[in-house]
Amino acid sequence: MIAIIDYKAGNNVSVKNVLNGLGFDCIVTSNPNEIQKAEHVIFPGVGEASTAMHFLKEHKLDQLICSLQQPFLGICLGMQLMCKHSEEGQTDCLGIFNSRVRKFPATEIVPHMGWNNLITTDHLLFKGLKPATDFYFIHSYYVESNDASIADCEYILPFCAAMQKDNFYAMQFHPEKSVEAGAIILKNFLTV
């Protein structure tokens, strides 16, 4: 079973729809037991960092998430919350990754919204993708390029588009909104 963590940040429906379409069963839950028992955990989300962290702490999901051993995937805000600190609301986050989340400088349009290509490594998550495939991004804050980075992207400046450390995977773009290419990545993650 796959657990999609519900922490009242944006719509979990689209991740669930795509997984169902791929033939995977999943539950949308904020129940610690269900999350703990799941074989894979997905942590999606759009919204504001401090509000989201507040919800996680209130429901003691912050400690739970950090202690999980199974493959875990953060998407968009989920990825940013896995970092150490976010400039959005000056929020201390989960600290799974040692990186910081910064606001894009307003030298160009912010948010970074639309389709942009990844500069990928040969990481197993990207197996089966054509080079320079576009993915859908929508965010005003970004994770700085770092040692855990497995894909970068460029908008205004180069930033981290995906990263991995142990069982923790994270991506800034929305695989669930990125047609077949996004589905390939989700499938790759679910076979980890």
Binding site: V18, V46, E108
Partner: protein, 252 residues
Amino acid sequence: MLKKRIIPCLDIKDGRTVKGINFKQIRDAGDPIELAKRYLDEGADELTFLDITATIEQRKTLSKLVEKIAREINIPFTVGGGISSVEDAALIINSGADKITINSAAVKQTDLITNISQQFGSQCVVVAIDTKFNDIFDEVYISGGKIATGKNTMEWAKEVEKLGAGEILLTSMNGDGTKNGFDLAITEKIANAVNIPVIASGGAGSMHDFVDLFTQTKASAGLAASIFHFNEIPIQNLKQYLSSQNIPVRCR
């Protein structure tokens, strides 16, 4: 590199897709789900659904349609029409829409923009602005283009950005449905005045109109309806053409 977006718009009336000319003379253009799937296959970057007859009784019908769309479509989509409270927005977003668009309600109660963006994030709030040149200035219209508000379009665009809009959908009523090309002058003015993405709408009639839009203005996206509905311009052909003109677009 970030790509320019092509967004087909589906006007919905009683569960069907329709298209009018200059906001009038409405004709049937098919089943929205089937059309949405076709656009997805053709390479549309996003979709926009506007319920042009939204009433309170139909709100449930609209949210059911949104649920269906969300199951079939794996690109981002925006839904609008009659959203006039945070609860209305919540219903649509919780049904699976990525963004909502508000128009008249944003003018009548400006705090709605702020309230929705605080709850769901500014990235999901698209403020639609219908504009027309009134011989003196560019003026904002509401209620499907029927009521002039006296508001200056440029000032309103800056205000909605401050209030928390994540994107502006700018429709020039001078051009809507005429196929004479996008209104480049107003699009450029607004795109330069704000630092959020501007989607240009109204007037697209040829592939070259999109080249003009993306080379002569800072618009992030072009939205059109009838030229896509009736297959006058297949989206994949449009994208190939844009690409050949060195405009960055997502090709499949």
